[in-house]
C-alpha cells in the first residue's frame, strides 16, 4: 500500500439527465419536478469520481473493509436539470493510525464554463 495523499484523478464529465434525476428524486421521496435534489451530488460529484480511487492499484483501498464514515457536500450553486458538469477527485489526506487507515477524498464539481458548483468531502475508514 502506498500513501496517496495529494493524488489527483482525471476530470469526469457528466450530463444531468432528467430521467436519472426523476428516478433519484423518487428514491429519496421528493417530487421529481422540484429540480435536482441536492444530494444527487452523490452521483454527479462523488459517484463519478470515487471509482478512480477504488480502482487505483497503488492506493490499494480494500473495498470489502471500507466504511464510508463521513460525508459533506458544499454548494456554490446547485446544477440544473440538463446541465453538463465536470468533476475532479483528489485524495486530500491518507493517514494510518492504530490499524485503521483514514482516507479523505475530495471532489470539486464545476459547470461547463468552469464555474464552481459543489465540493464533496468523503471520509473513508479502512480496517486492516
Amino acid at each position: 500500500m502506498t500513501v496517496v495523499a495529494g493524488r489527483t484523478y482525471p476530470a469526469v464529465k457528466f450530463e444531468i439527465e432528467p430521467e436519472r434525476v426523476a428516478v433519484f428524486a423518487r428514491a429519496i421521496g421528493v417530487d421529481p419536478d422540484d429540480g435536482v435534489p441536492p444530494t444527487f451530488a452523490a452521483v454527479y460529484s462523488l459517484g463519478v469520481t470515487v471509482p478512480h480511487l477504488f480502482g487505483d492499484e497503488e492506493a490499494a483501498v480494500d473495498f470489502s473493509r471500507l466504511l464510508h464514515a463521513e460525508q459533506e457536500f458544499e454548494w456554490t450553486r446547485h446544477p440544473r436539470v440538463g446541465e453538463t458538469v465536470v468533476s475532479r477527485g483528489r485524495v486530500a489526506s491518507d493517514i494510518s493510525r492504530r490499524g485503521m487507515r483514514f482516507v479523505s477524498f475530495e471532489t470539486d464539481t464545476t459547470d461547463a464554463e468552469g464555474g464552481p458548483l459543489c465540493r464533496s468531502r468523503a471520509l473513508f475508514v479502512i480496517r486492516s
Binding site: R20, V23, F24, R26, A27, I28, G29, V30, D34, G35, V36, P37, P38, T39, A42, V43, G47, S64, L67, H68, A69, E70, Q71, E72, F73, E74, W75, H78, R121
Partner: protein, 127 residues
C-alpha cells in the same frame, strides 16, 4: 439566566421513514451504488452484517430533503454534513429532524426506533 425558548416551536421539520428493501433497492438503482451489501442478504452475511443494510447516502438524502424543507427550498441548502454512526436495516423506523440553530445553521438528527442516533455530527448551512 437561560434564554427562554418556545416549547413547541415552529422552527423544526420532521419526517419519519420506515425503511424497506424496495426503497433500498430503488436507491441502489438511482444512485448507481449496487454494492451487494444493500441488495443481497446472503452476501451481506458473509461480510458480517445481519443482512442487507440501507445506504448511508440514502439516509443522508432523506435528511437533506428535511433540511431543504426547513430551509425553504432545496436551492437554499449551501452545505450539509453527516457522520454515519449506525446501520439501518429494513424495518427500522428513523426520525429525521432539522431544527434552527444559531444564524444560518440547521442542526440535524436521525434517530431510530430504539433511540439510537444513526447519523451524528450532522448540520447544514442555508442561504
Amino acid at each position: 439566566m437561560p434564554v427562554a425558548r418556545p416549547i413547541c416551536d415552529s422552527f423544526m421539520t420532521e419526517r419519519r421513514v420506515t425503511f424497506t428493501r424496495e426503497q433500498i433497492a430503488a436507491y441502489a438503482e438511482a444512485s448507481g451504488d449496487q454494492n451487494p451489501i444493500h441488495l443481497d442478504d446472503d452476501f451481506a452475511k458473509t461480510v458480517g452484517l445481519p443482512g442487507v443494510i440501507a445506504h448511508g447516502m440514502l439516509q443522508m438524502g432523506i435528511l437533506a430533503t428535511v433540511a431543504a424543507e426547513e430551509a425553504g427550498g432545496p436551492s437554499r441548502l449551501r452545505r450539509i454534513s453527516v457522520r454515519f454512526a449506525a446501520m439501518v436495516v429494513p424495518g427500522d423506523t428513523v426520525t429525521f429532524i432539522a431544527s434552527r440553530g444559531a444564524g444560518e445553521r440547521l442542526e440535524l438528527t436521525a434517530v431510530n426506533q430504539k433511540g439510537e442516533a444513526v447519523l451524528t455530527k450532522s448540520s447544514a448551512d442555508i442561504a
